[in-house]
C-alpha cells in the first residue's frame, strides 16, 4: 500500500526548475548585453563629446572673430585719427570737428571724446570735446567735463592714462543717453616727452555683439554668454545675471565648482572645454574662448544636446535588448520544459513503484543524453528494489524466527530465576525480593537462592558479555549453584567447587562474577564469598547503609582449582543486604555520567523502606530518573535479603 505522504509530485518542481534555468540563461545573457552596452555607449559618447567640442569650438572661433573684427574697426577708427588730433592741439574747434567726424564716418561709433588731463589745454581744468549721436540720430557736441562729472577719475580716462596703453572699458548701461549697453575704447595720447596728456575715446554700443552672442545656438538647448574683463556678465540668456553677477559670483551662489574653475580660466584669457555638473539640470559642457579685448565668450551645451542621439540609441538598444531577453526567456523555458517532459513519466513510474508495482514499464527515451542515463539508472534501481525486497523478505523471515527463539529463550531464562515473591510465604523472618532486567532479550545476570537446614543460600552473578552466550553461561552457573549448594559446607567451598565445575571445559573463555552467601536464619551469621562481584550494601535497622568489605577473589570460570577464600559477618534482625550487578552502578545518563556506588549508597542511606519490593521499586525508579530515558546498556539485577 502506498503512503500518500511520499507520493512524488514533480510538476510543480518542473516549473520552477525550468524557470530557474531560464532565469540563469537570462541573467548571463543580460550581463553580457549590459557589458557590451556600456562599452558601446562609452565610446559612442566619447565620439559625440569630441564631435560637439569641435563643433562648438568652431562656432566660438567664428563668433569671436566676428566680434574682434568689429572691435578692431573701432580701434582703427580712433588710431587713424590720432595724427589729426596731434596736429590740432591748439585748435578747439578743430578738435570738436574731429570728434564729430569720427562719429559721422563710423556708424558703429555712437560717441567720441578727446579728454585732456587737467590744465593741459589752454590751462583749463576740464577740456574734453565730445560728440555723440542723440536720440534723434543727429550728432551733437559738448564739453564732457563738469563739476559733477570729473572725468579724470573715470575708468575710461584713468586706466589708459595710468597704463599708457589703450584699453576697452568695462561695459556700462548708457542711461539717459542711447539707453543701450556700451563699452568705450580709450586710446592714450602721448606727447613728445612721453607723457600722456589726453585720452581719445570711442563709445561702442554692444547691442550687435549681445545679439550675436544670443543667437549662437549650436544645439537646441545650448546658449552662449559673454563676460567682461572683471567677469561681469554682458550677455546671457538669463538676463537677470547681466551686470548683477560675475561668472564667479554666479558659480559661488549656485555652488557650481566647475563653473568657478572655468570662470577663473576665462578671466585669465584661457581657452577651454569643461564638463559641469549642475544641480537639477544634468551635466553641461562649457567651451570658452577669449576676445581681443580680454573679455571671454562661452557656449554652454546640455548633455541632452551633446548626447541626445546617444540617449536615443541607448533607448532603442535597451528596448531591443529587453525584447530579445523576453524572447530568449520564452524560448529557453519552452525548450527546458520539453526536455524535462520525460521526468513527468518517470514521476508516474516512481509513484507506481512506490505503490508496489515494481515491474511498472518505464518510459522509452530515444535520446542518448542524461535523460537516457536517468532512465537506465531508474531501471537499475527498479531491478535492485525487486531484488532487495526479495532478500528483505528472506531476512525478515529469518529474523522473525530468531526473535521467536529468543523470546522462548528469554522465557526459559526468566523461568530459571525465582520470580515468585514472597518465595517463602511460610516464613516470617525473611523478606526476599529481586528483579532481573536484561539489556537485550536475554541476559547474563543471575540470582538464585534456596533454604537448606534453616540456612538461606543465595547468590548473584554477572556473566561477561551479553545475549544468548551469556544467557547459556548464566544457566550453567545457576544450575551449578543449585547442584553444588545442596552439599556445600561453606560459601568458599561453594564458590571453589562452582569455579572448578565451570572452569573445566570452558572453551568460550567466558566468566562470571559472583557473590554467594549462606545466611543462618537463626543467628543472623552470614558466610559469604565474593568472586570479583560488586560488594553488597548492608542497610542497618537504623537506616545506615554501608558497603560490605569483600576479599578480592578471582572471578568464576577462569581457572579451575583456585581456592576461594570466604568471609563471615553477623547481621542484626531488621537489616537488609542489597546485592546488585554493575548494571546498577554503571547506568549512564545523557552526559555519560555513571549512577555510581556513591549515589547508590546515598540512596540507601537517605531512604527507608519496609520491604525489599519497595526498596527495589524505588531504586529502579531512581535509576530511570537518573538515566532520563537513555537506553539501558547492561543487565540490571538487584536482590534484597532482609532478616526480620
Amino acid at each position: 500500500m502506498s503512503n500518500p505522504m511520499f507520493k512524488i509530485k514533480i510538476s510543480g518542481n518542473q516549473e520552477s526548475l525550468g524557470s530557474r534555468i531560464s532565469f540563469s540563461v537570462l541573467a548571463v545573457a543580460g550581463a553580457i548585453f549590459l557589458a557590451a552596452l556600456v562599452v558601446v555607449m562609452y565610446y559612442s559618447n566619447s565620439f559625440l563629446i569630441e564631435d560637439a567640442k569641435q563643433n562648438v569650438s568652431n562656432q566660438l572661433t567664428i563668433a569671436a572673430s566676428s566680434i574682434d573684427h568689429n572691435l578692431l574697426a573701432v580701434e582703427t577708427a580712433i588710431e587713424n585719427n590720432e595724427w589729426l588730433v596731434m596736429n590740432s592741439l591748439d585748435d578747439e574747434e578743430k578738435l570738436y570737428e574731429i570728434t564729430r567726424k569720427i562719429v559721422s564716418d563710423n556708424e558703429e561709433i555712437c560717441g567720441c571724446a578727446i579728454a585732456f588731463k587737467p590744465y593741459y589745454f589752454q590751462r583749463r581744468y576740464f577740456f574734453s570735446p565730445y560728440s555723440y549721436v542723440g536720440a534723434d540720430s543727429l550728432i551733437y557736441s559738448k564739453q564732457l567735463g563738469t563739476e559733477d562729472y570729473d572725468y579724470q577719475f573715470m575708468d575710461w580716462f584713468q586706466i589708459p592714462f595710468l597704463l599708457r596703453k589703450p584699453v576697452w572699458s568695462e561695459p556700462y548701461f548708457d542711461e539717459g543717453g542711447a539707453d543701450v549697453v556700451m563699452a568705450t575704447y580709450s586710446y592714450p595720447l602721448i606727447d613728445t616727452w612721453g607723457d600722456v596728456f589726453a585720452v581719445m575715446t570711442a563709445d561702442y554700443p554692444l547691442t550687435g555683439i549681445v545679439d550675436l552672442v544670443n543667437q549662437i545656438h549650436p544645439y537646441e538647448n545650448s546658449f552662449a554668454f559673454l563676460v567682461s574683463r572683471n567677469g561681469t556678465y554682458v550677455a546671457h540668456k538669463d538676463t537677470s545675471l547681466i551686470f548683477t553677477h560675475t561668472v564667479l559670483s554666479n558659480a559661488l551662489d549656485q555652488g557650481y565648482n566647475e563653473l568657478y574653475e572655468a570662470g577663473l580660466d576665462m578671466l585669465n584669457s584661457g581657452i577651454g572645454y569643461r564638463e559641469m555638473r549642475m544641480k537639477g539640470e544634468g551635466n553641461k559642457y562649457l567651451s570658452y574662448m577669449p576676445l581681443h579685448n580680454k573679455w571671454s565668450m562661452a557656449i554652454v551645451n546640455s548633455d541632452m544636446d551633446v548626447l541626445g542621439r546617444s540617449y536615443i540609441m541607448l533607448f532603442i538598444i535597451i528596448a531591443l535588448m529587453v525584447f530579445g531577453l523576453v524572447l530568449l526567456y520564452i524560448f529557453t523555458r519552452q525548450s527546458v520544459k520539453k526536455k524535462l517532459q520525460p521526468l513527468v513519466l518517470f514521476t508516474e513510474a516512481a509513484n507506481e513503484v512506490a505503490k508496489g508495482d515494481f515491474k511498472y514499464a518505464l518510459p522509452e527515451v530515444k535520446t542518448k543524453d542524461e535523460m537516457r542515463t536517468l532512465r537506465d539508472s531508474f531501471a537499475y534501481m527498479q531491478d535492485s528494489i525487486v531484488k532487495y525486497i526479495a532478500d528483505l523478505k528472506e531476512t525478515m523471515g529469518a529474523k522473525e524466527r530468531i526473535e521467536s527463539e529468543l523470546r522462548i529463550a528469554a522465557d526459559i531464562q526468566r523461568g530459571m530465576v525465582p520470580s515468585v515473591f514472597p518465595p517463602f510465604p511460610e516464613r516470617n523472618d525473611l523478606d526476599i525480593f529481586a528483579v532481573l532486567s536484561p539489556a537485550k532479550e536475554v541476559g547474563g545476570d543471575l540470582y538464585d537462592y534456596f533454604i537448606r537446614d534453616n540456612k538461606f543460600y543465595f547468590t548473584i552473578g554477572d556473566v561477561s558479555g551479553k545475549g544468548v552466550p551469556a544467557a547459556i553461561f548464566m544457566a550453567i552457573a545457576r544450575s551449578a549453584f543449585r547442584y553444588i549448594g545442596a552439599s556445600a559446607e561453606s560459601a568458599s567451598d561453594l564458590m571453589t567447587k562452582l569455579n572448578d565445575s565451570i572452569s573445566q571445559g570452558n572453551q568460550s573463555n567466558m566468566f562470571i562474577t559472583m557473590f554467594a552467601g549462606i545466611l543462618d536464619l537463626a543467628t543472623g551469621d552470614i558466610q559469604f564469598c565474593n568472586a570479583g562481584h560488586n560488594p553488597g550494601v548492608l542497610i542497618s535497622p537504623d537506616g545506615k547503609a554501608e558497603y560490605v568489605e569483600v576479599k578480592n577473589n578471582l572471578v568464576v570460570g577462569v581457572m579451575d582449582g583456585f581456592p576461594f577464600s570466604g568471609q563471615s559477618m553477623k547481621i542484626e534482625r531488621g537489616s537488609t543486604l542489597l546485592l546488585y550487578t554493575d548494571g546498577v552502578t554503571e547506568a549512564e545518563n545523557s552526559v555519560k555520567e555513571l549512577y555510581s556506588e556513591e549515589r547508590l549508597q546515598a540512596f540507601c542511606s537517605n531512604n527507608s523502606f519496609d520491604t525489599g519490593e519497595e526498596l527495589i521499586g524505588a531504586l529502579v525508579a531512581d535509576i530511570k530518573k537518573f538515566t532520563n530515558g537513555e537506553d539501558q546498556n547492561d543487565d540490571i539485577t538487584i536482590l534484597t535479603i532482609k532478616l526480620k
Partner: protein, 346 residues
C-alpha cells in the same frame, strides 16, 4: 467803516500769520512730527547695501515705529559729491552713519557732530597688492588706488605715520583700476571691494593682503552720528533711534537670510541694479564680523576713553588735527548699561 474794515483785516491777517507761524514752529519743534511719530531724516554714508542691514531691518520690521519714529532714508549715489557729514552740518539730515575717524577729524575742524552708537568695533580697511606684501612700508613709491572720498584721514595718517611716499590714485568707480593692472595695490574695505575683487579675479592669497585690523591703524569705523544741537533738542529721539537700530542689528545677526531678503528689497526699490544677493550676503557676514570686539563679543559700546586718546594723540603727532575734542563732547552714551544688554533684545 474803512477803519473798522482795516482793523478787521489787520486782525485777521495777524491771526493768519500767527497761526502759520505756530504751525511752522510746532512742526519744527516736534522734530517734524508725522501723526504720532517723530520724523527723522537719516543718511547712511553710502548707497543702499548690506552694510546698513540693521537699519533696513529696523525700518521694515517697525522697530523705529515702536520707538515712535518715522525714519526717512536719504541715500547718496556712487558718483555723488554729497558728504553725510556736510549734510548733517547743514541741517539737511538729523542722523547719519560715518567712520569714527572721519567724524572725529571733522569735529576737530569745528563740525558739530556727536557719536551716539558705534556699530563697528574694528577696521575693515585693507591693502590688497598685486604682489606679496609684508608691511605697509613696502607701499613706498607704489601706485595705490583708494576711494576719492571716504577715508582720506586714514590715508594721510598712513602716509605720515609710515614716513613714506605713496602715490595715492583716487577712484570713484571701484575695483577696475586693480583688475586692469593700472595700480600696484588698492586700499579697500573688507566688506565691499575686497569681496568684489574675489568675485572678479578669484581668491587673493593672504600674503598679498594687509588688514588694518592687524595694524596700529585699527580704528573702529561705522557708527551713528548726530549734531549736538539735535541731541540737545531731541535726546529722546536719538536714544530711540539707537535703541531701534541695535534691535535691528541683533535681529539681522540672528536672521541672516530674512535680513538679506530685506536688503535685496531695499536695493530693488532704490533701483540699485549692479548687485546680487550672494555679494550682499558676503558683505553682511563681514559687517557682522566687524561688530565683534577684541573679546569676541558682539558689541555696540562706544570707543573707550583710552582708545579715543590714542587716536587723538596719533593724529596730533602727525599734525593732522590741531584741536582736542573732549571725549564727552564726541561720545554721547547715557544708555551704556542698557546698551550692554542690547536693550533687552538679545
Amino acid at each position: 467803516m474803512n477803519q473798522t474794515l482795516k482793523s478787521c483785516l489787520y486782525i485777521v491777517t495777524l491771526l493768519a500769520v500767527m497761526l502759520c507761524s505756530f504751525e511752522c514752529f510746532a512742526q519744527e519743534a516736534s522734530g517734524r512730527s508725522n501723526g504720532n511719530l517723530t520724523k527723522v531724516r537719516f543718511m547712511p554714508n553710502w548707497m543702499p547695501q548690506a552694510q546698513f542691514a540693521g537699519y533696513f531691518a529696523a525700518k521694515e520690521l517697525g522697530y523705529f515705529e515702536d520707538e515712535g519714529l518715522d525714519v526717512e532714508f536719504n541715500f547718496i549715489s556712487q558718483t555723488s559729491t554729497k558728504n553725510p557729514i556736510d549734510m548733517l552740518e547743514q541741517g539737511e539730515v538729523d542722523i547719519i552713519t560715518n567712520l569714527f575717524v572721519s567724524a572725529m577729524v571733522a569735529a576737530t575742524r569745528g563740525c558739530d557732530i556727536v557719536n551716539i552708537l558705534q556699530t563697528s568695533q574694528k577696521s575693515a580697511l585693507m591693502v590688497v597688492s598685486r604682489d606679496s606684501l609684508n608691511s605697509l612700508e613696502q607701499l613706498s613709491e607704489m601706485n595705490v588706488g583708494c576711494w576719492r572720498a571716504g577715508y582720506y584721514e586714514i590715508i594721510d595718517l598712513i602716509t605720515l605715520g609710515e614716513g613714506i611716499f605713496i602715490n595715492w590714485i583716487p577712484f570713484i568707480t571701484g575695483i577696475n583700476l586693480y583688475v586692469f593692472g593700472a595700480v600696484d595695490a588698492i586700499l579697500c574695505y573688507s566688506y565691499s571691494e575686497y569681496i568684489q575683487l574675489m568675485l572678479s579675479v578669484g581668491k587673493i592669497p593672504e600674503e598679498r593682503i594687509i588688514r588694518m585690523e592687524n595694524t596700529e591703524y585699527n580704528f573702529p569705523e561705522d557708527g551713528l552720528y548726530t549734531s549736538s544741537t539735535f541731541l540737545k533738542e531731541h535726546p529722546e529721539v536719538a536714544e530711540a533711534f539707537v535703541k531701534a537700530s541695535v534691535r535691528g542689528w541683533l535681529w539681522v545677526a540672528n536672521n541672516r537670510d530674512k535680513a538679506l531678503d530685506i536688503v535685496m528689497d531695499v536695493l530693488e526699490k532704490s533701483n540699485v541694479q549692479n548687485s546680487n544677493r550672494y555679494f550682499q550676503g558676503q558683505m553682511l557676514d563681514e559687517v557682522l564680523r566687524l561688530q565683534y570686539d577684541n573679546q569676541g563679543r558682539r558689541s555696540f559700546q562706544p570707543i573707550s576713553v583710552y582708545d579715543y586718546s590714542k587716536i587723538i594723540m596719533e593724529f596730533r603727532r602727525n599734525e593732522l588735527i590741531d584741536r582736542y575734542i573732549e571725549f564727552s563732547k564726541m561720545i554721547w552714551c547715557p544708555y551704556r548699561k542698557e546698551l550692554a544688554k542690547g536693550f533687552g533684545y538679545e
